[in-house]
Amino acid sequence: MQFERREAPFISPTTNVASMMRQVIYALIPAALAYVWYFGAGFIFNLVIASFFCLLGEAVMLRLRGRPVEETLLDYSALVTAVLLAFAMPALTPWWVTATAALFGMVVAKHLYGGLGYNLFNPAMAGYVMALVAFPMHMNLWTAPRMGDIDYHFMTIAETARYTMTGTLPDYLSFDAISRATPLDFVKAGLNDMQTFEELRAYPVMGDFGGRGWEWIGNFTAIGGGWLLLRKIIRWQIPFGVLAGLLVPSGLAYFLFPGVHPSPGFHLFTGGTILCAFFIATDPVSAATSTRGRLIYGFGIGFLIYAIREWGSYADGVAFAVLLMNIAVPAIDYLTKPHIVGHAGNSDGPVP
């Protein structure tokens, strides 16, 4: 009898990139629902626009680079970028801002570096930063969360669609009526105005522990992150590192100099902290790979978020922190090469 020839091992892997990416998307569904509830339908428009342009950018670049288009689109990695981008953008964003971010992320940050697996920078964060620098006015316009101030106007779907498509509001609405400072902006401005954190905390915008609306988006994001940890889609080192890198310095500052620093709890639940810890920093391609390296990488991101929030001119620093640590990844990987079993110590000399 004749048989086929193959190479060992003869057991097939059970995971694949597409299923990992799909699970990342599923894990964000609770947070997305919370986002829509608190900030309105703008998130959905952003998501659709980001998805369209991410897929478009990926498809065109694959075509130009002579790579298989269909199979690669089906790995869902472009969609994950789109989802993260939609989470990062303000709920009310004109379509061209989102499109610019999506295309920059896909074309420049991802494909000009060689596509999935080769990109040095996290494409979603690169796109976000590009938009932040190019459209500062639009990117700093945040609406008030549902159940915010007494005089708030929660935008209808039609109003949101109109703004997304044209960048203008109906005559009866003004930017002042709909926009609000985010809790991070609010705290930064308040502390600069010589108010104490305890005083600021009393304002309704601060919610219960991390800003109205934001804290619940954070909670639901954490649930999704926990599910990814259980599924072993992500490992604990990076989330732990990010949270420790942010909470340790903010905790020290809060307890050593009371009143003039926000609490670690506020840092944790506001802005993009939890999304970053579980979903952005854990992008495997642009993260460090060894166990120790991941702790260092995560810690670096957490600390940079703290530093930017505390001393920088931007209210939140997730995107910059991630991009800065992306640059450090090759060095981290080199310096944290694990001890190879059977070799004394780890002194195998410098890399040739």
Binding site: A8, F10, V17, G117, T289
Partner: protein, 509 residues
């Protein structure tokens, strides 16, 4: 194929995988004897090292247990006839090897009598032998490591005898899925296994023997435990280890049991241990106590492609076809034949391949998982999480693609044990182990080439040196002649010339 539930945390061994065992299908009945086949094919190389040299001719009649090929060189093992019959050919025959499909085999046509040769030496209790005499005897039994590495046991022991040792570790950790031959051997022949261990301990003068068995073999554990109780030998210690692949690798087992790392490129003896498979111990026992060399072994015949999976006692040289037919033949759709387990085995294209000393398992698979196209590495690092050597397979893969030899070395390619764990957890479906195997072969080729070039350079240089010396010697000679002539003065020169002239005259017509 069912899905491996990936859980990878364990004691002292890094990484590893919990794989579906798939063993119960073949452990429900006891070891079955394969009948004497019509023909036996004995490859002259069934061990690491030099092939054995045939000492019989075509047409000769041999008896069971008779030496048919003797060991040759410093690392080799003899081969014995596994049944009586006539040598009909010594020719290339399909075998299971990594490189090359065919290898020289001694083909015996069995007469069915199975008549055994008289032992050449008187059998005596093992402890009446001096340790070094015992070592030499073991070497003559054709015994090799039966766990799959097939390193000649005699040489392994002789090397070990030169080192300071603390433990004999008996490897009953059969960690690859499907394989259950050691399990059944321990269940049914525990006394032989321990008897062999006693011989090994005596040969190496060792005070302690750890018998290590995986926790998923309760029957084997109790059988060995009982046999230990009957022997009452205080030197034995039974150890259970968790069922994690690849804890049965020699170096991994040492690490698991003693928490010592075998140095890169070194041997377990460097850290005071010598490891033998339980099957090897039983073979040593049969040779020393019964006078039967290694002419048969237990093999698992299993997989979804086999009708009734089981363990068989097969004569070395029996073809896989004969073994499978004892196990009820092939199932519908059998499409892949693997010699060894599903992680490290080698696929063969024909079942004319014989069972050899290394054959611990014959695995027949049916459904072929679609060979999916490898996608780009996304650096998820799962491969590094499961690597028992703590390598970074994703970095190795990167440098293997770039053929960057020095980086590959720095990242420890040569330390890779090719266990296949990284392949199983790779979401991008990259055949990492195959890549590493090829990269190793390329490095080896490069090394060989370098060695050849070095030899050629030395030869060339020494030739040049020789020629220079020759030239210098000739010049020296000429100078000496000239000096001598000058010293003798003009008259002498005239005389020489004159003599030359007259000589010419004489020579003329």
């Amino acid at each position: 194929m069912s899905t491996p539930a990936a859980t990878y945390d364990l004691g002292k061994l890094h990484g590893g995988l919990r794989l579906p065992a798939e063993k119960t299908v073949s452990t429900s009945i006891e070891i079955q004897q394969v009948p004497i086949p019509d023909q036996l094919a004995l490859p002259i190389q069934q061990h690491v090292g030099e092939p054995a040299q045939p000492v019989v001719g075509v047409g000769e009649h041999v008896l069971k247990g008779q030496l048919v090929a003797e060991s040759y060189g410093t690392l080799s093992a003899p081969i014995h006839a596994s049944s009586s019959g006539k040598i009909v050919a010594i020719e290339p025959w399909p075998v299971s090897r990594r490189f090359g499909e065919n290898a020289p085999c001694i083909i015996i046509e069995c007469d069915g009598d199975d008549r055994a040769i008289e032992p050449s030496e008187e059998l005596a209790p093992y402890n009446t032998f001096e340790p070094n005499v015992l070592l030499d005897r073991i070497r003559q039994g054709g015994i090799v490591g039966l766990g799959g590495a097939v390193f000649p046991t005699g040489q392994k022991l002789m090397q070990a005898a030169t080192m300071p040792l603390e433990f004999l570790i008996l490897n009953g950790v059969e960690c690859e899925p499907y394989i259950s031959c050691d399990d059944l051997l321990m269940r049914e022949q525990a006394a032989e296994v321990l008897g062999g261990a006693q011989i090994l301990m005596h040969a190496l003068q060792l005070p302690t023997c750890y018998v290590v068995i995986e926790s998923d073999k309760p029957e084997a554990i109790s059988a060995i435990g009982e046999a230990m109780g009957e022997l009452g030998d205080e030197r034995f210690v039974l150890k259970q280890v968790p069922t994690i692949y690849p804890s049965g690798g020699e170096d991994q087992l040492v690490q698991l049991v003693t928490n010592r790392e075998v140095p890169s490129g070194g041997l377990p003896t460097d850290v005071g241990c010598v490891v033998h498979n339980v099957g090897t111990a039983a073979a040593v026992y049969r040779w020393i106590c019964d006078g039967e060399p290694l002419i048969s072994r237990v093999t698992t015949v299993t997989g979804p492609g086999v009708r009734s999976p089981m363990n068989v006692m097969a004569r070395i040289g029996t073809t896989i076809a004969d073994v499978v037919s004892l196990a009820g033949g092939y199932n519908e759709g059998a499409s892949q034949l693997i010699v060894g387990g599903p992680m490290c085995g080698k696929s063969v294209t024909t079942d004319r391949v014989p069972v050899v000393k290394a054959t611990n398992c014959v695995l027949v698979l049916t459904e072929l998982p679609a060979q999916s196209v490898p996608q780009p590495c996304i650096r998820c690092g799962e491969c590094a999480t499961v690597c028992p050597i703590q390598l970074l397979p994703q970095q190795l893969y990167w440098h293997a693609c770039a053929d960057n030899e020095s980086k590959l070395r720095w990242y420890g390619l040569t330390d890779c044990i090719e266990c296949g764990c990284c392949d199983l957890v790779c979401p991008s479906n990259i055949p990492l182990t195959a890549e590493f195997r090829n990269a190793k072969a390329r490095i080896q080729e490069f090394e060989d080439e370098k060695a050849r070039a070095e030899r050629a350079r030395l030869r060339f240089e020494s030739r040049n040196e020789r020629l220079e010396q020759e030239q210098a010697r000739r010049e020296q000679q000429l100078r000496e002649q000239k000096d001598a002539a000058l010293k003798a003065g003009p008259s002498a020169i005239d005389e020489i010339l004159k003599r030359k002239d007259s000589g010419d005259d004489e020579g003329g017509d």
